[in-house]
């Protein structure tokens, strides 16, 4: 612990924002790991109700089940079912509005993760540049012949770059993973929503009869 602490302290002032980035990035990774589980988004009970809707009489039961569950999928289905009396185009419009809001909730925090992945290496580079500046001050005093001391200064300057890459690389991997996972879930929600929309259209009374 002491060695690691000394290693981090040698990095200088840039290690503080890097540490904050690391904490924020890891917190978002944990939060997304919990919230983007498929069972929590695509609730099996809601899916089962959707599959078993045989007519307009089943809509109240489906709405009550959707109200018991929270999440983007249940909210979209509930909003669609509540507006089943409207024309198909209006239902579709409502579905799109609700979908945009719920997708935003799904992808909430991924922007911060992307920012952490981007600025982590940049902060590390900034720390290295500041460290190299110190090395040049040493050169101005001692000349360029002191290879040992210059190498030591440069190695200390590179600590922030190491830390920045340590934070940035996993953050970038996590961002790409959770982005693709969120996209997959959105596509699945869209599939079930279209299926429900088709059912509502088929149950609607034919105009003019």
């Amino acid at each position: 612990m002491k060695n690691v602490w000394e290693f981090l302290v040698k990095g200088g002032i840039c290690m503080i924002p890097l540490f904050l980035c690391s904490v924020a990035g890891l917190a978002i990774v944990i939060e997304k790991f919990i919230s983007l589980q498929r069972r929590k988004i695509i609730v099996p009970e809601v899916v089962s109700v959707l599959e078993n809707i045989k007519g307009a009489n089943d809509f109240p039961l489906a709405v009550s089940i959707c109200e018991k569950h929270h999440g983007p999928f249940a909210n979209i289905i509930r909003s669609t079912l509540e507006n089943h009396n409207l024309p198909r185009e209006e239902i579709k419009e409502t579905l799109l509005d609700q979908g945009r809001q719920e997708v935003h909730q799904l992808e909430k925090g991924l922007g911060v993760l992307e920012t952490v992945a981007g600025i982590g290496p940049l902060l590390g580079l900034l720390g290295t540049v500041l460290g190299i500046l110190k090395v040049f001050k040493v050169i101005s005093v001692m000349g360029v012949g002191q290879a040992t001391s210059l190498a030591a200064g440069i190695s200390e300057a590179l600590i922030t770059t190491i830390a920045g890459l340590f934070i940035g690389i996993p953050a970038l991997v996590a961002y790409n993973y959770f982005s693709s996972r969120a996209d997959a879930l959105v596509l699945e929600i869209e599939k079930y929503s279209n299926r429900l929309l088709n059912k509502i259209s088929s149950f609607a009374p034919v105009q003019g009869k």
Binding site: L26, A27, S149, G153
Partner: protein, 307 residues
């Protein structure tokens, strides 16, 4: 997600960071020397040699000063001697070597080097000698006083430069007296050299180390007196790596030999230079560590070494 859950997640993230830092040494080793340990030096065996710096017991034989009796018979050197063994005859009748000596594969010395023995100082009359002695004592006392004053405060780069400039002999500024510690053997053979660039590395650089490093190198360099086999004949060479600690009072401790290669007398030259240089200058007041650990590499190499 509720705010409470988000707070818990942030706390969990901080806790994970602390755990990673706590067990970093156990899981991941950033120190590449632990992953690829350096092979043990053959000469230093498994454990490094540790020199005990305790002062040896003073068991020298008592010395007695005997004055030359006034009636002692003084035989002057013969002015004319024909024997080759007579140094005066040799001095008068120097045999000039051939212009081009045959060169073999063995290492050789050109012989073109200054020596205090080959160029003796002109005889100084007794009165001048006594005056010069008194002047030397006065200079030494002044130097000690200024040294003691300089030890009280940390050195700056300009102060070191001026000190080094004063230490160098300046032509035209009067008679320079030879240092008492300077042996009669010249060690500035044109083909032999002691590397002093980048030979010192410290355990910390988080202080204004440049003036101290320059002064330390100069102090050690002045005490390097390699054997004749290196300095004049160019027969031996070698490298020595030493490590020692300098405490805030300038005290030298824990001098240890990490490795050496080449002739052992050069290793002894290096260790003696460190020992003789102690005590060192006091560490500055803002020095961040309890002691300064110095790793020094001495390279005694011969330029244009053949074969």
């Amino acid at each position: 997600m509720e705010a409470k859950v988000k707070r818990q997640i942030v706390l969990l993230s901080i806790l994970l960071h602390i755990l990673i830092l706590a067990f970093w040494d156990s899981f991941i080793q950033l120190d590449i020397t632990r992953i690829f340990p350096a092979p043990p030096p053959a000469a230093a065996a498994s454990s490094p040699l540790v020199f005990d710096l305790a002062q040896p017991a003073q068991n020298n034989l008592p010395r007695e000063v005997i004055a030359t009796p006034a009636d002692a018979k003084i035989t002057p050197n013969p002015q004319k001697a024909d024997f080759l063994s007579d140094k005066n005859a040799l001095a008068r009748n120097q045999v000039q070597p051939p212009a081009a000596l045959p060169l073999g594969d063995a290492p050789y010395a050109t012989g073109d080097f200054p020596s205090h023995d080959l160029f003796p100082q002109p005889a100084i009359p007794e009165k001048e000698s006594a005056a010069a002695g008194a002047q030397l004592e006065e200079k030494t006392a002044d130097a000690d006083k200024s040294q003691a004053e300089a030890d009280q405060e940390p050195l700056s780069g300009e102060a070191v430069d001026s000190t080094l400039a004063q230490a160098k002999p300046q032509p035209g500024r009067g008679k320079t007296l030879p240092r008492p510690s300077m042996p009669g053997v010249a060690h500035d053979h044109p083909d032999t050299q002691v590397a002093d660039s980048g030979g010192l590395s410290f355990n910390t650089y988080n202080w204004d180390f440049a003036p101290y490093m320059l002064e330390l190198k100069e102090r050690i360099r002045r005490n390097i007196f390699p054997p004749i086999a290196f300095s004049q004949l160019g027969l031996i060479d070698g490298n020595t790596m030493l490590r020692f600690k300098i405490y805030p009072s300038g005290e030298l401790r824990d001098l240890e030999l990490l490795a050496y290669e080449g002739h052992h007398s050069l290793m002894e030259t290096s260790t003696t230079a460190i020992k003789v240089s102690a005590p060192f200058r006091k560490l500055p007041g803002n020095f961040p560590e309890p002691y300064l650990q110095v790793t020094a590499k001495f390279s005694f190499f011969i330029k244009n070494k053949r074969g």
